[in-house]
Amino acid sequence: MGTHTQEHTSHTGLIWKVFGILSVVTIVEVILGILKPASLHLTTILGTSPLNIIFLVLTLVKAYYITWFFMHMADESKSLRRAVVWTAVFLIIYLATLLLIEGSYINDVLSPLVKWSY
C-alpha cells in the first residue's frame, strides 16, 4: 500500500470498532483480575495459572489491535512491518525466556536458604 498521504477516505468506523474491542478486552481483564476464579487462579498449566495465560493472550490481542489499526501497521509495506514486528517479537521472546529461566533457577537455589520460622 505504501505511503497513504493521498488518502481521503475516513476510517472513523474502524477506529471506534477497535476502541470497542480494546475496551471489552480491558473490562474482561479487570473483571477476571478482581474475581480471580479459583478454578483459573489456583490451578497450574504450562508452569503458571490458566488465569495468567489468559491475561498474557488478552494483552497480546490488545497489542495487535493497537499496532495494526491505531499505528496503521496494516497499511505499511510488508518489508517495514516485518523489519519492525519480527525483530521485536524475536528479541523480546528470547530475552524474556532467558531471564525467566534464570530467575526460576535462582529461586531454586535461594529459596531453601530463606528462613521463615524464628
Partner: protein, 326 residues
C-alpha cells in the same frame, strides 16, 4: 543534506530525498525504528522485573493488596478499579489521536486541532492519575514492621484482614526527634519519622489479644500471605528492627523493596514517556493551529507523533498486565 546524500532531492521533503526504503518516508521509518528500540528497552525493564519476581516467587507482594485506593472512596478496598480507569484514559487518548491522524489525511484542520487538544488533555489526566497512584503507594495504607533480616511483617485482625497501626499502637508520648542535617555528623539526616516507634507498636500488640501477624511468604495452595497464629507471633516480633509506613526505594511496607524499586522505575520511565509525548503533542498542536501542515500540504507530522503516542499506550498495556494482573 544534498551534499552528503546522493539523491535527486527536490527539496520538498527533509532528509532522504525521494528515496523511500521500505515504502515509508524517512521520518516515519525512523520513528518506527526508534519505537522498536524503545520497545526493547521497556522489555529489558519488564524482563528484569520478571527475573526478580521469579527469584522471590514465594514472597512477592500481591498487587491486589497494594493498589487498593480509589478517589473519594477512602478506606474502601477497591483493587484494580483505579488502574483500569487510567488504562481507559490512555486508550481513549489513543482514539482521539488516531482520529486526529484520520482528519489529517482529509486535510481537515479544524478537526485535527480539536482531536489533538483532546489527546493532550487525556495525557494530562493520565499523568495526574499516575501522580495520585504514586502518592498512595508512597504514603502506604496499613503500616508494617521490618525484622532484622529485612523481612516485612504485617498485622491482621481476628478475621485475617490487615489492620492499621493506628488502630492498636499505644501512643507513649516519647520524644524521638528527627535527625536533620544541622544535628547530625558527617551529613547524616533522615527524611521523615515513622508514625510510631517500635516500642509503641509492641505495646499495642501485647494489649490487643485479637491481633496476629502475617508474613511475606505466600501459601502456594491458596496464593495468600501466611498468617502466623498469635501464640507464635512474638518469636517473629522479637526480631523487629523498625516500623515502616508506605514505600520508597529503601523500604516497602507491602514486602520486597525491589517491588517498589521496579514500580517507581518502570512506571516512572513510562510516565516520562507520557510527559514527553504530551510536550511533543503540544508543539504539533500549535503547528497545526498556525497552519504549518496546511502549507506543507500534508499532516504526516501528526501521524509521526501519533505513532509515538500509541506506543506509549502500547507500553502501558504491558505494564498494566505485569504489575497489576499476573
Amino acid at each position: 543534506m544534498e551534499a552528503t546524500i546522493a539523491t535527486d532531492s527536490t527539496g520538498t521533503s527533509w532528509g532522504g530525498g525521494n528515496n523511500n526504503p521500505l515504502g515509508a518516508s524517512y521520518g516515519k521509518m525512523m520513528m518506527w525504528f526508534f519505537i522498536l528500540s524503545d520497545a526493547l528497552t521497556f522489555s529489558a525493564f519488564l524482563g528484569a522485573y520478571g527475573l526478580m519476581r521469579f527469584k522471590f516467587i514465594e514472597s512477592w507482594p500481591i498487587a491486589d493488596e497494594v493498589f487498593t485506593h480509589f478517589p473519594f472512596l477512602h478506606g474502601v478496598h477497591a483493587p484494580m478499579y483505579y488502574v483500569a480507569l487510567m488504562t481507559f484514559v490512555l486508550i481513549f487518548s489513543s482514539v482521539t489521536m488516531v482520529l486526529a491522524v484520520d482528519a489529517g489525511h482529509q486535510m481537515k484542520k479544524g478537526k485535527v486541532t480539536f482531536y489533538m487538544l483532546l489527546t493532550i488533555i487525556g495525557g494530562f489526566i493520565f499523568l495526574g492519575s499516575q501522580a495520585w497512584e504514586w502518592k498512595n503507594f508512597i504514603g502506604g495504607s496499613y503500616g508494617a514492621v521490618e525484622l532484622n533480616d529485612g523481612k516485612i511483617v504485617q498485622f491482621v485482625d481476628a478475621s485475617g484482614h490487615q489492620i492499621e497501626l493506628e488502630k492498636f499502637a499505644v501512643s507513649s508520648h516519647s520524644d524521638r526527634t528527627q535527625l536533620t542535617r544541622d544535628k547530625g555528623v558527617w551529613f547524616m539526616n533522615e527524611s521523615s519519622l515513622p508514625p510510631f516507634s517500635v516500642e509503641e507498636v509492641m505495646a499495642g500488640f501485647k494489649a490487643n489479644p485479637d491481633i496476629s501477624i502475617r508474613l511475606e511468604k505466600i501459601d502456594p495452595v491458596t496464593k495468600t500471605k501466611t498468617i502466623v497464629p498469635r501464640a507464635e507471633a512474638m518469636t517473629y516480633l522479637n526480631e523487629t528492627k523498625a516500623v515502616v509506613k508506605g514505600a520508597n526505594l529503601q523500604v516497602n511496607e507491602y514486602g520486597k523493596p525491589l517491588f517498589a524499586d521496579f514500580f517507581f522505575f518502570i512506571t516512572g520511565f513510562h510516565g516520562f514517556h507520557v510527559f514527553s509525548g504530551v510536550i511533543i503533542n503540544i508543539i504539533i498542536f500549535f503547528n497545526v493551529i498556525i497552519g504549518t501542515y496546511e502549507r506543507r500540504g500534508h499532516y504526516e507530522m501528526v501521524e509521526k507523533v501519533g505513532l509515538y503516542w500509541h506506543f506509549v499506550d502500547l507500553v502501558w498495556v504491558f505494564v498494566f498486565t505485569f504489575f497489576y494482573l499476573v
